[in-house]
Symmetry: C2
Subunit: 482 residues, 2 copies
């Protein structure tokens, strides 16, 4: 029997369970597990306990709330405990494949006064949408996995794979402790994991489901120019000394042009050439410039056509100037010549850019441009931090299973998307577990994660449970399953 | 009898009065009249009362402590009273010339913990120097005028001119209320004033007395570039929208080169040509690049020769980039694309620059440079505030009198200096009273006004009293006096 046939009773069960699913999400949303608010840290722990009880009631084994110790500075309370990472497994059958699912149970801050139409920590269903902080980021998807297990239990159907859960409580605050835990458990708790599935991003738009196979990396640099021993009065020193700000503006203005073209030799040359196969992927994607303009709140798009917008967001590098540390930054007027200024910029990286070569090109270019000024000021350029890009094969086993699941549930071929930003845990799992990672989003592009009136569509939440379930079945059945 | 002969008994009296003079300054310094510290406002009033008593005891007439009302916001105490402007006159003989002397009795903040070697509000004499807050800025010079009157009284000598005193208590905090009072009293209290003498600046160096005949003006501009409706994530929007920061850096980097040359067409063309007479003035001035390097705490001088340094500080315009409002300005890394950024810069102005024409050239240039970018972002450039330059004829009657006085007291021809910054009250007096203004500094370039361990040399304080006195006598005696 094909997967699409055998899964029908499960889907029927999912439809029946809607009230339980909404109730489960409502209970989760009611716990204000804001990881960035120290005073709400007990609520993050309460949310971990809620998950533990849910997992127990669904029959999970080996549930662990992993203590990560105290939070490193800066913190108001030096004894502030990090919320635990919740580990659990359903099944440990060596004959089955093992899927690790990751999600996070902490949320962004939210106050009614910020402009919410209803209490952010009370789930409200209205016009087919479920409003509440965490509904889409990321409590909805986390509940989605629990819902999928419940559906199997109630339908008397065995899970087709061993399911390993890894849910963290610090994602909105830098995922403190997660990298270390994944590295530590790679050959222990996570041993035997065949693939990782993360549901913590969104459809590109609002109409078509997507599978995400790439993320850009980010290399963040700073340029320091210093000269005078202290900040100086521009009346007394203006015109007679070399001002660090003049030099900084000169160098930083040469990094990128107004069309977004990076001017540093060698950088664009490292970008992987566009293949015909990749180019074709953009053609059928559901997106247009209006969506970009809506998102940016302006008509400032560099490209007006879908293909160029998506390629420049996903597969080409970009360079942004972020600001200056050490110069006047307040309102009004201040006539100081700053003695030491630090300019910040970052480059979004893509295949096949080598981060160390990028550093080399950036340093060389900046130093050359500064040398051309023949300024006696001191100059330094350095990398503050970097994170690599990630690209997966969107035609591998996991993506193929997810595509079939999406087709079955949504009756449409999902768009294959990338994202311009980064989700660092993706690379951590890939590198530490040496497996593929699939990004399988549940919510829509207009869900308002991190914003006011965050929501998830009821349809996405329910069909999402079906998609996650079907994905597990197709993945278990192998590449040629139908 | 020549002035130089007739003044000898007065000078002898001044030498005798040293203990009284030091005591007068010690009493003044002991009152912490910090105008920027609201909690110390009663001390500023106490200082006005001290002045009133001193003036009374010296025989001043028509002493007025002019109420200026409450201080406008921002203030912690909405009923905070402004300290009074102290007016007084010595003599009202229509047969004599009338000299208005201006000074201020408030001081900069000072704390022992800042690094002072002794209590800043206790005058300490050490190695020929008098240490204490206000010793040189500006209590020393204000006491200097009182000392000069006392010397005349005790020597039984009549003041050669009518002396009008105008001492304010808010100079270190924006001179609130002063402009209005000067305008209001131009034809009343200040009626008949022939010239104004201000002793509130410093010798250029430490070896040679100076007379100051020029100040640069300042026009402060801001450029606003905005596009997106809100700050954006550089991962998602980097490479696909026109970033306001890129445009701002592009335009601002074109305003001035690293050698300090203003790149805006028309600006340098407005500068008054250098005459041979003026050029000669620089040759004998006591100054060299080492003093500039010491002051800037670096070896970042654009010019290494005295003449170019002084000319570029005093008689050529300069352009400084001050900072950006709206962009990331903290430590570390933040990957935001700011939606709206405001770049600040100012131009120091000199004769014969027309401030309205300058605005026009600045606006035109910035708009053209932005237009060249073909960016869809919004752009605006505007003037925030301006103050005009000031230049006097250093060979007029007042300067001639001051030069003779300096030669008599210091046995040296004073250097004729300008300053790169501005002292707005200079222009106010000139414009409102329609008289010349003379800047006749008492302290040295290393006195540390606004800094820790502020001092005035005992020699400067005593010889300063002689200089002020001799100036009055030479001025009264006319241009050809000896």
């Amino acid at each position: 029997m094909s997967v699409s046939e055998s899964i029908k009773p499960l889907f029927a069960q999912i439809d029946k369970l809607k009230p339980e699913y909404v109730n489960r999400l409502a209970q989760a949303v009611a716990i204000p597990s804001v990881s960035s608010d120290e005073s709400l840290r007990p609520q993050v722990f309460a949310m971990a306990d809620f998950l533990k009880k849910q997992l127990e009631s669904l029959g999970a084994e080996d549930i662990q709330l992993r203590d990560l110790g105290t939070q490193p500075p800066p913190v108001a309370d030096p004894k502030l405990q990090l919320p635990p990472i919740v580990l659990a497994r359903f099944g440990k059958n060596p004959a089955k494949k093992t899927v690790l699912v990751y999600g996070h149970y902490d949320v962004q801050p939210a106050l009614l006064e910020d402009g919410w139409n209803s209490d952010p920590f009370k789930l409200v269903e209205k016009n087919g949408k479920l409003y509440g902080r965490g509904s889409t980021d990321d409590k909805g998807p986390v509940m989605g996995w629990l819902n999928a297990v419940e559906a199997h239990n109630k339908a008397g159907m065995e899970l087709p794979v061993n399911l390993v859960c890894c849910f963290e409580g610090m994602e909105e605050s830098g995922s403190l402790g997660l990298d270390e835990l994944v590295a530590q458990e790679a050959d222990k708790y996570f041993k035997g994991v065949d693939t990782v599935c993360i549901s913590d991003n969104y459809w590109l738009g609002t109409k078509k489901p997507v599978l995400t196979y790439g993320l850009r990396g980010c290399s963040y640099y700073q340029i320091t120019v210093s000269g005078p021993g202290a900040d100086l009065h521009s009346g007394i020193f203006g015109g007679v000394i070399h001002e660090p700000m003049t030099d900084l503006f000169n160098v930083m203005s040469k990094l990128v042009d107004t069309q977004g073209n990076i001017q540093i030799p060698g950088v664009n040359e490292m970008v992987a050439p566009l293949t015909e196969k990749e180019e074709k992927l953009y053609e059928k994607i559901d997106f247009d410039v209006d969506e970009l303009n809506l998102a940016s709140g302006s008509n400032t798009a560099i490209y007006q056509d879908k293909k160029n917008i998506l390629m420049h967001r996903w597969r080409y590098p970009s360079l942004s100037l972020h600001g200056i540390e050490g110069a006047f930054s307040g309102g009004g007027a201040k006539t100081v010549i700053p003695a030491k200024v630090v300019g910040k910029f970052s480059i979004r990286t893509v295949p096949d850019m080598d981060p160390r070569k990028l550093d080399e090109y950036v340093f060389k270019f900046c130093k050359e441009k500064f040398a051309e000024l023949k300024s006696p000021n001191s100059f330094n350029v350095e990398l503050i931090h970097d994170g690599n890009y990630w690209v997966s094969d969107p035609f591998n086993e996991a993506f193929t299973a997810a595509r079939k699941a999406t087709q079955l549930v949504w009756n449409v071929d999902p768009d294959l998307t990338r994202e311009g930003g980064s989700i660092p845990i993706t690379l951590t799992f890939e590198e530490q577990l040496k497996t593929d990672v699939l990004l399988l989003p549940m919510g829509k592009g207009d869900d308002g994660a991190h914003s006011i009136n965050e929501k998830i569509d009821v349809a996405n939440y329910l069909e999402g449970v079906k998609t996650l379930s079907a994905y597990l079945h197709y993945y278990a059945a192998g590449k040629d399953s139908e």
